[in-house]
Assembly symmetry: D2
Homo-oligomer: 266 residues x 4
C-alpha cells in the first residue's frame, strides 16, 4: 500500500521533493521543540547554527520519530530497497545563518585519476514503475519559514536530473558569490509551517536563504538509504588503506564562494 498518491509521486519524481503540509500536529511540534531544549547541541561549524547530532541515540522521542510511518511510508515509496536509517539530526539556526547550495545530479568530483560527474550516493534511477533514490531525507520543520528572510529552503528546479554541472563551470567563469545571493532563473523557494514534512531527494541542488529575521529556525532531519549504505559521516576522500567509510562531497558552493562573503554579511 503506497503512502504517496500517484500525483505526489509524480511531483516528487519531477521536482525532486515533496512537501506534506501539517504532517505533525501542534502538540507534536511542541514536544519535539521541548525535547531539543533538553539536548546539548554541538557546534555545527556553520555560523549561528547549532547541530544536534545522532538524535535517535540522544532521545527516545526522536528514535521513535525516525520509525514513524509518516516518514517511513513516503521514504519507502521512493527508495524501494531494504531500508536503513543513515542519520538523524537537528539544526537550530539563528540570524545570518545560511546553507549554500549543494547536491545536483551532475556536479563534479575530483578523484586522483581525474574528475567525474557522478556522486553515486545520490544517483537515482527508475525502473518498471518505481523510483530508486539511494539517499533521501525527511525534514520535520519546527518553525514557520514563510519568507526568504526567514531562511527558506531553496533549490534549483530540475537539478536532481541535471545532465550538466552548474557550480564549477560558473566558478571557472569567475563567479564567486552564492547563487542564493546572486540569483538564478530557476532558483525557487519553499515556504513551510511548523509541522510540515519535506521529503527530499538528496540529488536536488538545494540550500537555504540567509536568515535575516530574529528567532530560531528549527528542524529535525533523518536520512535514509538502502541497507548497504554506511551511516552518514563526512569523509574527505578515500583512505590509504581503503578501509575508510563515509560520504564525500562533489562540488558545493562552499568550495567556490568566498570573495563576496565579507561584503554580503557585514
Amino acid at each position: 500500500m503506497p503512502a504517496l498518491s500517484p500525483e505526489q509521486l509524480y511531483l516528487f519524481d519531477t521536482t525532486g521533493f515533496l512537501l506534506i503540509p501539517g504532517a505533525f500536529g501542534t502538540d507534536e511540534v511542541a514536544a519535539m521543540r521541548a525535547e531539543l531544549d533538553r539536548i546539548t547541541p554541538a557546534d555545527s561549524g556553520f555560523a549561528n547554527t547549532a547541530r544536534f547530532t545522532d538524535l535517535p541515540a540522544a532521545s527516545g522521542l526522536f528514535a521513535r520519530t525516525a520509525l514513524d510511518a509518516r516518514l517511513l511510508g513516503p521514504v519507502r515509496d521512493v527508495v524501494n530497497q531494504p531500508l536503513r536509517l543513515l542519520e538523524g539530526y537537528g539544526l537550530r539556526r539563528g540570524p545570518d545563518s545560511v546553507l549554500y547550495l549543494h547536491g545536483g545530479n551532475a556536479e563534479l568530483l575530483d578523484l586522483d585519476g581525474g574528475t567525474v560527474g557522478r556522486d553515486m550516493s545520490i544517483t537515482h534511477t527508475y525502473h518498471d514503475g518505481k523510483l530508486y533514490c539511494p539517499y533521501v531525507k525527511t525534514l520535520v520543520y519546527l518553525s514557520d519559514i514563510t519568507s526568504r528572510e526567514d531562511g527558506s529552503f531553496c533549490y534549483i528546479q530540475g537539478s536532481h536530473k541535471a545532465n550538466f554541472p552548474l557550480l564549477r563551470p560558473r566558478a571557472e567563469r569567475g563567479a564567486r558569490a552564492s547563487l542564493i545571493d546572486e540569483g538564478f532563473p530557476t532558483l525557487s523557494d519553499l515556504y513551510v509551517r511548523a509541522g510540515d514534512l519535506l521529503l527530499l531527494n538528496e540529488a536536488l541542488m538545494h540550500g537555504t536563504r540567509r536568515k535575516r529575521t530574529p528567532g530560531d529556525r528549527l528542524l529535525v532531519a533523518y536520512g535514509y538509504g538502502p541497507t548497504f549504505l554506511t551511516d552518514w559521516r563526512e569523509l574527505d576522500g578515500e583512505t590509504g588503506d581503503l578501509r575508510g567509510a563515509g560520504y564525500v562531497d562533489h562540488d558545493v558552493e562552499e568550495d567556490f564562494v568566498h570573495d563576496a562573503e565579507e561584503g554580503l554579511v557585514p
Copy 2:
C-alpha cells in the same frame, strides 16, 4: 592515467567483465597458495567449498594484494568514485562444488511493500566517458580452469544491462533446475590459468559450472565499491530498528533450484 586501454574498457562495458591473463606470475601464485595453506578456512555453507574470510586481516600478503596496482588500477577505471575495499576472501573448491547463477541487472527483490527490479548495490551507469559500477570484484585465479568440468566461471551474456528479469519468470514457468545444468542460449564459459585476473561487474549474472575433475579450484577475491558502501556482509532484509547494515540478495538460482538437485548430482 587509466590502467585499462580503450578496447579493454569497451570490453568491460559491453560484456560486464574483463580477463587480464597472466597478471600474476608463477612465484606469486605459489606464494598465495602457500599463504592460504597456512590459514584456516571456514565452512562456506556450500558443498565441498571452503571459504577464507577476511583475508586482508588474516595475512599481510593478502592485505598488500588488496592494494596492488594490478587490481586497483582496473577497479578505479570502472568504479570512478572514492574507493574502499568491501571484502577480501578466498575460495577452495573440490569436486561436485557448484555456484549457481546470481546477479543480473533486473532480477527481482521482494520488499514488504512489493517487488522491485533493481538492486541498487549493483546498479551501474555511465556519464561523460566514465563508467560508475558500485560493486566490482577482482578474482585472482590460483588454479587452471580450462574446461566446464573444472568448474569454469560462466555468465549470461549482456545480463549486466538486462532490462528484464530472467530467473523468477523462469521459476514461475516451473523450471527448477539451474541454467548451469539446463543450459541457456547465451550462457557462456570463461577458461583461465593460474595468475589470471578477472575484473567483474557484480551486475553480471554469473556462477560456476559443477566441478567434476579432481584437485582443487582456488582463488582469492576482493570486492570494491565507493566509500559510502558498508563492508560486505549478508543481511536477510532490513532490521526492525532500521540500523542493520548489509547486502541483500535479489533472486538467485539458489532460491528456485531444488527438485532437480538430487537427480543431477547422484
Copy 3:
C-alpha cells in the same frame, strides 16, 4: 561554436525550454505581422484560432526565418543530429481560445497490442556532454503575453523527464477538467514580449491558458528534428499497409477534458 551558453544549456536541460528575450527586433516583428496579414489562414479546428500552414512555402520571409541563425543555433545545440525542418506554421488566436496540455515524457499511448509509455518522437537523451532532443520547436512571439488572461504559455515543471504518466491516471480518477483550469502544484506560466524566442523540447507537457483579453495572440512556430523524421503531419495510427507516415498523439488533455467544458466557457 555553441549558440547557447553553459547556463542556457543547463536551463534548457533542467526545465525543457529556454526563453531568449528580444531575439527579434520591433521592425522584424512588424514585418512578420504584416506578412501574416497577407496570408490566408486555415481553420485550425480550435475555437477562435486561425492556423497559417506551411509558412516556408507561403512566404519568402518565413522560409528565411526558418533558416535564421537565431533559431538554428540554439536548435542545433539541443538536437545534435543532422537537421531538418519538420514544419513551420503560424497561430493567430482570439478571446476564449485555449490549448490544452500535451506532451510529457511518460504519457500513455494505446497500440493494438497494449499500452505504452513512450512516444519515441519526443524521447530525448544525453550522452557525453550533448543533448539529443528529436523534436524541438522554436516559437517567435509576435504579441505581448504578460498575464494568464493573455493566454500565457504554461507547462508542468520537469514533465519532459517524467517517469510517470499524469493525464490518464488523473482521468481514471474521474477528473475531467483541464489542469489549466483546475491547477496543479507545478503548473507554471511564462510571460513573453513580442520578439521573444522560445526554444521548446516537445517532451515538456505544455499548453496555454484561456485567453480572456481582447486583441490577438500571434506567433510563428518551427519544428525541427533529425533528417530521418518525416514532415510533421497528424496520423491517427498506423495504416493497414504500414506505409502511412506521421505523428501520433499519446494522451493529451483533449482526450479527457469535456464535461467541464460547457460550465467553464459559458
Copy 4:
C-alpha cells in the same frame, strides 16, 4: 498477445538480435527464391553483391511477406510504437563479397558543429516492461550459411548498448583492417539455415564475413520503425534548405578500412 516469449525477449534485449529458426518452410523459401529470379536487381555498389530494391513494390509476394505475422509479431514486440515499413530489399551475394561492421550504440558522427556519439535513428530505450527500438530489421535467409567461409552474419557482443565508441578510436590508433579480418575478442558469428528469421536491433554493430565458398548467399530484409520515420534512403548529411530527409551514417568500418584491402582480397 506478445509474439515473443519472455526468454526470447530477454535474449533480444541482452544480445541485440534473435534468431527464429525455421520460421519459413522449404516451399516458402523456394517461392521467394523463384520470385527473386524474376526480378532484376540493381548494382549494390558492393563487390559481388546484387541488391533488389523496393521488394514490396516489385512483387506481391514480398509485399505480403512484409506484413506477415511471423515478421510483424516480433517486430511489434520490440518497437512498441505505431509501425511503418521503412524499406524492403533483397541481397544476393557471391564469392569475395563482404559487409563491413556498422551500427553500434556510441559510434561517432561528425556534424558541422562537432562530433556526437548518438545516432538517434537507432537509439533505443526501455520503459515499464517494454523495449523501444526505433529501427529494427527482419532478415529472411534463403541460403544456408553454416561457416565463416559462407559469409556468416557477425556482430560485436553487447555493442547495441555500448557506452563507448569502438571504430574511430581504433582507426586513430592506426588500425586500417576490418575487425572482420583482424578479429576482436567479442566478434561472434551466427550460422543460419534457409528459412530462418533474424530479428535485428540496428544498434548492434554487425556485418558479414568474407564469403569464400561458391554459390549464392541470398536473403530478403525488411526495415521497420515508428510512423514518424521516413522511408529509408541514404542521405550524406543535412541539406542547405533543411528539407532533405534520409538516414546518415555514423562511423562505419568502410570509412576507415582501406590500406589492407588490396592485400586481403587479391
